[in-house]
């Protein structure tokens, strides 16, 4: 393994020494057991609105329901309004009600409420990651920039060998469903939020981290953050490491 697989130990040592009021006792390179659930999902991606699309959606929400009316209201050519509406309909924000009038869809309303232009895409393959101790989902802030290993072994070129932490448990069958039901789903999936997912498999992964035992609270360094990762620190609480 090259140093590119993780931060070298000397870099972590440098970072620890740079922290005020931290008195490290020892630094342990560890491999944490994790899970990856492979899913094929319909995802909701978000983008910022442009200008006209957002104002048109707001106007439709306030009851302006036809192209001429909207064009007059905003002072924009009907052709431009018509194409902007076609665009909004194309991304699933607009529909026609049973009387043929424009209406915002649920996705359109949610976009307007959140001030973000959402769009649904089907058939995206995603990996949803869970920790191997409690089967809780891994926050996006940690999962996005971390190193994930398919095998429980890692030795860096400087000789740093990562030690496997025991105590992993199985991933419950409803872990993905429970994650999708969470209000704070975006905290775990980032900007691409699955709204429906079909699980196609589960596989173990290992996350290399540095546990820094200190005179006070221990710190844990992963690859995703420059400093100590509070999520990883919480995960390691009450997991005594031998040695």
């Amino acid at each position: 393994m090259s140093d590119g697989a993780h931060l070298p130990l000397r870099e972590v040592t440098r970072r620890v020494e740079a922290l005020p009021d931290v008195r490290p006792l020892r630094i342990l390179p560890l491999l944490l057991p994790m899970w990856a659930a492979e899913v094929v999902a319909t995802v909701r991606e978000s983008q910022p609105y442009d200008v006209l699309d957002r104002y048109l959606a707001r106007a439709i929400d306030s009851g302006l329901l036809d192209i001429e009316e909207l064009a007059t209201f905003f002072g924009v050519e009907p052709a431009i309004v018509s194409r902007a509406l076609r665009f909004l309909a194309g991304i699933g924000h607009l529909a026609r009600d049973d009387r043929g009038r424009l209406t915002l869809t649920g996705l359109g309303r949610r976009s307007l409420a959140d001030g973000r232009r959402y769009q649904l895409f089907q058939g995206r393959r995603l990996l949803l990651r869970f920790d191997g101790f409690t089967a809780a989902p891994v926050p996006y802030s940690c999962s996005a920039g971390s190193v994930w290993l398919r095998a429980p072994e890692l030795t860096l070129s400087d000789g740093t060998a990562f030690q496997l932490v025991d105590g992993g448990t199985a991933l419950p069958g409803d872990a993905v469903a429970a994650l999708l039901a969470r209000d704070d789903l975006a905290d775990f999936t980032g900007p691409v939020e699955p709204v429906e997912a079909e699980q196609h498999g589960t596989r173990p992964l290992w996350l290399p981290v540095y546990l820094v035992e200190c005179e006070d609270e221990p710190l844990v360094f992963g690859r995703a953050l420059d400093g100590p990762d509070p999520y990883l620190a919480r995960l390691m609480v009450s997991r005594p490491i031998a040695g």
Binding site: F74, G75, I80, A84
Partner: protein, 365 residues
Amino acid sequence: MASTSVDLGHDEGRDGRDEGPADFCASLEAAVARNAAGLDARIQRDAIVRLRASPGLLALLSEGRWAEPGERSASTDVIQRALRVPDMFCLIAQPGVNRAQTVLEIVRSAAKRGERILITAPTAAALDTVVSRLPHGPTVIRTDRDGHLATVAARLQRRILERSESSSKNLGAWLGEPSPAKGRLRRLNLTLDEARRARKQCVTVRTPFTELAAQRALESAERSAHQLARMLTGVVPVPHWTADLRGLEAFAGHCGDLEPTLRARAGLIREWRQRAARPSRQLHAELLRYADIVVTTCLGAGRPEHADLDFDLLVVEDAGRVTTAEALVPLVRARRAVLAGTAARGSVLDHVLAHAPEANRAHLP
């Protein structure tokens, strides 16, 4: 962006239309690798990737498979024929024959039908002739000229401010919390309460004084209703109302129902005008997406700002000087295309003409 001439058929030693789609794409890639570099090459390679996902266009270019015409016409009018084909039309003119007028008529007719049009040519100079004669009215954006998009956006913003002024004025009375309209509505409801109370008193103690009080309250309510009706004028259709107690109550109820919506619209138009009053690059992407006509060079159509754009009709002017790989860049962004020019060996026009049915071609005399 210079046009590089690639003769695919001769380069590969065979006629491109006899190749399978995969071979055809591979030969295009090879031609791009030989004849283009840097950004131009990347743009053409991206277009080939998109071509692979466009079965209709790929079948037409690689195997000479043309779509069945949806509507057969006996028309000999070139413009009507060009607009009617579902995939591609070749407009051939010998050197020295003026085809610009025909191209402009095709563009004008398509724009009139509400179609979104992309006009391209191998060079900016070739576009100048077309652009200078485009009809007034449609929103035209030229992306091969720096600053043109910003100029059109600024012009649009000025027009928005002019045209939305009356919406803003009409809704002015509904703006604010409480708005003048809401104050007037409150006054109407108060006077209606007074009128109802006075009426009740009239039933128990009928005196000239109680009758007068009821009458005055009703007159006051009527004045408020007239003012509210003026505030609705130009905003929503003003309902018919009568100046008796029941009619005024119905009108007050109607205005009460409308007030939150009109307050929201008044706020919306104020925000919209504030937005339109300041320069905004954010509008640029939308303008490109919604403009009637976008004009750029063939390779310019592959720039990142065109990534997600699509068009109802593409017109490639001077297509006799455009290679197939270059022409792909705008072709993969349009549902139909008209290729206009003098067929020259190795050009896209030459390539397409080799198998184009009679219905899909016209020679200008």
